[in-house]
Amino acid sequence: MEQQPILTVRGLSKSFPGVRALDGVDFDLRAGEVHVLVGENGAGKSTLAKCILGMYQPEEGEIELRGEKLCFSSPKDGIKHGIVAVYQELTMVPYLNAAQNIFLNREPLIRGTGLINHRKMQRDAKAILASLSCADIDTKIPVKLLDVAQQQMIEIAKALSFNPKIIVLDEPTASLSEREIEPFFKQVLKLREQGIGIIYVSHRMQEYHRIGDRITVLRDGKFIRTLDVGELTDEELVNLMVGRDIAQVYVRTKNEHSGEALRTEDLRDHKGRVKGCSITLDRGEIVGIAGLVGAGRTEMARLIFGIDKPAGGKVYLHGKDVTGRSPSFIVKNGLGLLPEDRKRYGLALKSSIAWNTVAVSLKSVFPSGIVSERKNRKIAEDYVKLLKTSTPDVVRPVSQLSGGNQQKVVIAKWLSAKSDVIIFDEPTRGIDVGAKMEIYALMDRLAAEGKAILMISSELQEVIGMSDRIYIMKDGLITGEVTRNQCSQEEIGRAMVLGKEVEA
């Protein structure tokens, strides 16, 4: 089905402080196709999508819609031209009903009054939902009372109510469960049949085959290649995305494991996100936890760290029962956590590098309770040297550092606190490839020095490349365990999605 593209992007560039998010990217979209954008985290997929939507203004390059040059200053302009999005995070207002959410800010009015015509709005919303085969959604109750899949459908109905020519789907399945994904795909394919161009941002390999027509690969903000689905094997596609041989990126030195550092037994939480997880971690070992977003990995880390109280099960740190103890007690016993969202939970962004470095070790660094500026700086400088953090000084706020260097400050914080068991939750999210390799090298060195590392990651390559052992987690349960080099990426991927036992 060769045809003129409805949307053409040429030489698009966009920078943010410290990172060139897009660098001369080309892209085109035809009517009635699902064009998948792929790439690692930080490759520029979402940035490209947001430029097309008018949320970001690119610095260079142009976007053409049916040969007409576009220059958007806000999403409003995008909407006007029939370009809409279904966002990764839902944009629902919890206490408005489905109809109010669909027609937010465009509510039909009773002529001459300025009052909303609720009856017409309900009717229109029902009609759109019916066209999505979702007529059973209650459009009169607050959407908060609906489940996530239904909210996702309302989100799509909202997009459709603009009569769009182009829909951007940004990781639309991230919040859906396995059971809900297939009906969702059917809707996407239906939209495609109607001649709508669909830009599909995703990092799930199996989704491309199911619904994609063409794939564009981005890497480090650069356009790599556009190809048809099925033109390359998954392996070749991954190589395009990563851009180098995996062996070069992930370096592991062989080292001895000595004694148990962390063990959980049948750990469960109150919300049913973690349903009984037993894992062990030895000193000198890196253990990966693979699983999809929502599998319960971060929730498990929070239970271990004492942020949430477990509903059942045990946590042992160096053989000592620390179940349900406070985070400060657990930190004192040598556990550290690099949180998934380091800007929010890992760092005091506006504070200096020096201050962040000693943030959890104040008591041991300054036993008298009086802070010595000079000593503080000296400690921070030592860690900057040790971890090769790139910064001119240690007094500037961490917010001025790049993602990779920020992560190093978080690591310095735990090293300063003498942590010997460290949980890395998505350690390289939003970090460019060069800095990633440094973080990996650092993890390897820490393990060689006898620290125990538990790594949670959605990036399979990373888990496989770095881990001595891998636990596979799905729907709150550990569904498999494999040791290094025992298992291919596809097998683990399948286990993550399907929850099948992995044949080791």
Partner: protein, 316 residues
């Protein structure tokens, strides 16, 4: 309706509703002649100014803000009105002018919050001091009086057996209800509290709605000032003190949330009634007025904490 959603709805019952039940039983047992029509009418009339102010405050709280200037705005409005009347201006000019000062103060609040991006708390706290100063300067620091029939007409007459003051309160309630439920303005207010991102992706800048909301709150304050001045037949530079706390408390007790765009003016009715029933009962039990504010503060904090605790338990 499924059992599950029914449970959720009962859980969403504003804390004020069951607190009122507790209060009524308590006062009924501890005071004489509590359950009389005249006592309840007097509770309602006393509650009217706070209720009208709280209608505006409901909208601000829904937008994740608080307006701390409206007590001072009340002070200013009553003083300005009576002083203008003293100067022999006809009521048809003096009243709109006085109400206009409160509306304008609200508009300025909105402008500062929307354009300068100041937190509503800071902006309105600053405004509170300015307006209080204006009230004190205009009145020379004490109550101002003026003879006019309007005060008695509003404060003492009734229509269809319902006092004028209650009709005004009912009107404000209906107006606020319609704004929230049947206008785009209302939907925007709820969106700003529930998920500000939703407006951004709909291509709408929330500045206009912010200014409208604070201006409307200024108008509600002006109406409350009108009622209040008629009841005390004077302009008083401290008559509105405490209204900012009590109105926020009433809104929260009425089940409106400062975070997620939940709630509305219906719950605020109960929040205001709770505070007024509490006050009225304390008076009937001859509790000295110097203890009253402390008791109200304790009850309000207790109710809000209990509500937050119950909500947290439900979510877990």
């Amino acid at each position: 309706m499924t059992v599950k959603s029914l449970k959720k709805r009962v859980g969403a019952l504003p804390p004020a509703v069951w607190m009122i039940a507790v209060m009524l039983v308590f006062y009924g047992l501890n005071t004489k002649n509590y359950f009389t029509a005249s006592n309840f009418i007097s509770i309602l009339i006393q509650a009217a100014p706070l209720f009208v102010v709280a209608c505006g405050q409901t909208i601000i709280v829904l937008m994740q803000g608080t307006d701390l200037s409206l007590g001072a705005s009340l002070n200013m409005m009553t003083v300005v009105w009576v002083v203008l009347m003293q100067k022999n201006l006809p009521i048809g000019i003096a009243l709109p002018l006085a109400m206009g000062t409160s509306v304008f103060a609200g508009y300025l609040n909105g402008l500062i919050v929307a354009k300068m991006k100041l937190p509503p708390f800071i902006a309105t706290l600053g405004m509170q001091n300015i307006l209080n100063s204006i009230a004190l300067v205009t009145s020379n620091g004490s109550s101002v009086y003026h003879e006019h029939a309007i005060y008695k007409i509003i404060a003492k007459s009734s229509f269809l057996g319902i006092p004028y003051i209650l009709w005004i309160a009912i009107g404000c309630f209906a107006l606020t209800m319609v704004l929230l439920k049947f206008t785009r303005f209302g939907a925007r207010v709820i969106s700003m509290g529930g998920n500000p991102e939703s407006l951004k992706v709909a291509g709408y800048s929330p500045d206009l709605a912010t200014i409208q909301a604070f201006t409307y709150t200024g108008f509600m304050t002006a109406v409350a000032g009108f009622i209040l001045a008629c009841r005390v037949e004077s302009g008083n530079p401290i008559v509105g003190n405490g209204f900012e706390f009590n109105s926020v408390a009433a809104v929260l007790l009425g089940g409106t949330s400062m975070r997620e765009g939940r709630g509305g003016v219906g719950g605020t009715v109960f929040g205001v009634l709770l505070i007024q029933i509490l006050k009225n009962g304390l008076v009937m039990m001859n509790v000295s007025s110097i203890y009253q504010t402390a008791i109200i503060g304790i009850v309000v904090l207790f109710a809000i904490m209990l509500d937050a605790y119950i909500k947290r338990r439900q979510e877990e």
